[in-house]
Symmetry: C2
Subunit: 311 residues, 2 copies
């Protein structure tokens, strides 16, 4: 399939990630429609103010909507909802779909997202984008990107193909680095090797930044044990994660200083934490293959409790 030069795009989930990439795509000339809830009035009135390390722009006016029926079928649907809201997919996404034409790109965290979209629209119409980026919504309609990073995209089924490359080019042309992966399975397990230990321990160890994890001998050990369990589970799904990759997670984190993982910020601000997609789903997948995942099991249940207790 080929994308038209100018896409009609819906952005569903307009927290930092959705607002940021949606604004970039709009700024690049695409027809971007944003589904907004709490920021609807602010964005409708004042548009998006986007700040990146290299640039600053003001997107105004913005195609702001409060329901998807008003948007109608799109070429591309960018989904950046919290995974805790995935249950509303069947309610809000169908009006955006033009069967056989619409591509659904989920920029969400963790596992289980492409499957839920696949049930509704066919897995062949779903692409996953893993975001390695640092972006915050500092006020309604105000988006700050601190570290440009990149998106790693992969087909929900099969390896990368022409459509994947075309989508990567669209993202790249909008100003974000985009890498194409041939294996979503690999991309997901690898990303979880960081998110599972560091997002999780940051909350479970009392609410601490990643430098505190790195400085604590027992927490470094725990982080590695969690990575080892993910490595074993990944292997059961045909994904080999190297020792060098595991070591690299520590090297990278050592360089991050007092970093607040996104789940920790969500937890502190009493927003939903993506417990199932980041910890629950990989746990269930590992256990389904008979992999001992006790460290993850314990962490998952503690987080599940802490998040409920905080809410």
């Amino acid at each position: 399939m080929n994308f038209p030069t100018k896409l009609k795009i819906a952005v569903v989930g307009t927290g930092a990630i959705g607002a940021y990439y949606g604004s970039l795509l709009a700024q690049a000339g695409h027809e971007v429609h944003f589904l907004l809830r709490s920021d609807y009035e602010a964005v409708k009135a004042n548009g998006y103010h986007v700040q990146t390390p290299k640039a600053k722009f003001h997107l105004h006016p913005v195609n702001a909507h409060n329901n998807t029926a008003d948007i109608g079928p799109c070429d591309l649907v960018v989904i950046a909802l919290k995974t805790t809201a995935n249950a509303i997919f069947p309610e809000i996404l169908p009006p955006l779909n033009s069967p056989g034409k619409t591509v659904f790109l989920t920029l969400q965290n963790g596992m289980g997202n492409v499957e839920k979209l696949g049930e509704l629209f066919g897995l062949e119409n779903v692409v996953a984008g893993l975001c390695f980026v640092c972006v915050n919504r500092t006020a309604p309609g105000v988006i700050e990107n601190y570290m440009p990073g990149y998106i790693q995209i992969a087909e929900a089924s099969g390896t990368a193909r022409e459509r994947t490359q075309a989508l990567a080019k669209i993202l790249q042309d909008s100003g974000t680095e985009c890498k194409v992966s041939d294996s979503l399975e690999r991309a997901l397990w690898c990303k979880l090797c960081w998110n599972v230990p560091f997002n999780g321990i940051a909350i479970a160890a009392g609410g601490i930044t990643t430098d505190k994890i790195m400085q604590s001998p027992p927490l470094r050990i725990l982080a590695e044990k969690l990575m080892r369990e993910l490595q074993a589970a990944a292997a059961a799904y045909g994904v080999s994660i190297s020792e060098k990759f595991i070591e690299g997670q520590f090297t990278v984190t050592d360089g991050m200083g007092p970093y607040k993982p996104s789940s920790l910020i969500d937890y502190w601000e009493k927003r939903p934490v993506e417990v199932e997609s980041i910890w629950g789903e990989p746990l269930r997948r590992g256990l389904a293959k008979g992999i001992p995942m006790g460290n993850l099991d314990c962490l998952y249940h503690l987080l599940d409790h802490l998040v409920r207790a905080k809410a």
Copy 2:
């Protein structure tokens, strides 16, 4: 061996447990010497005030000492030190030992205590007493017992014998129920089936009482998973723990209300928490037998961190 009618007893470690049982033994007519640190002046001057659900007594004067050389060899040495202080055994215990005559009774928590005493004085001279009791030191020299409970004693090596029964009778005659067990291994794993999950989760889940654990679905699941790991480890050491026993831990805890496990109180009051004897040692013993103990592994490392961070 036979104990004399009136024993010379040293009590080493005079927190709530040591002070309570030592006072009962002194009240019963034995010559009891207390090794005191922070409460030395108060106890020397005012003795021990002991309150139980059934009685109240004032032990005065007390044989208060600040070093064991002044006490000299004893028939019985009752050790109620925090296990975090076990490294000082070689420094403080030898003056109390009359080789071949002195019995060392450790009333401490968790695993690894009899082995450390055995290295110094021979395992055949060591008896373990597991305390199922609720007793607090509410002020220097003031001991309050809320639930009389019982002590379960077992030989450090081999099954119960005449000496074990005699020691049980001495304890019983002092006013505490005492049960004799034929297997220390069994007694330890069984007690840990409560202490590991409930003392541990109470701290790791943010500092909560046991009723909050019981009311939280994920924490109940976690508690059971921890018990299952202990059950499997115990089996590897020849101890069969029944389903009924596991269920019973929940029933008992349901009846306890908003109970504060002793480790949680220690944690809150920034006193040493017995991380190694309650969580570290059973973990190492299970892993040594190839038992997957990931839930305990994670809990242990989180506790190790939390306790260090709080100190």
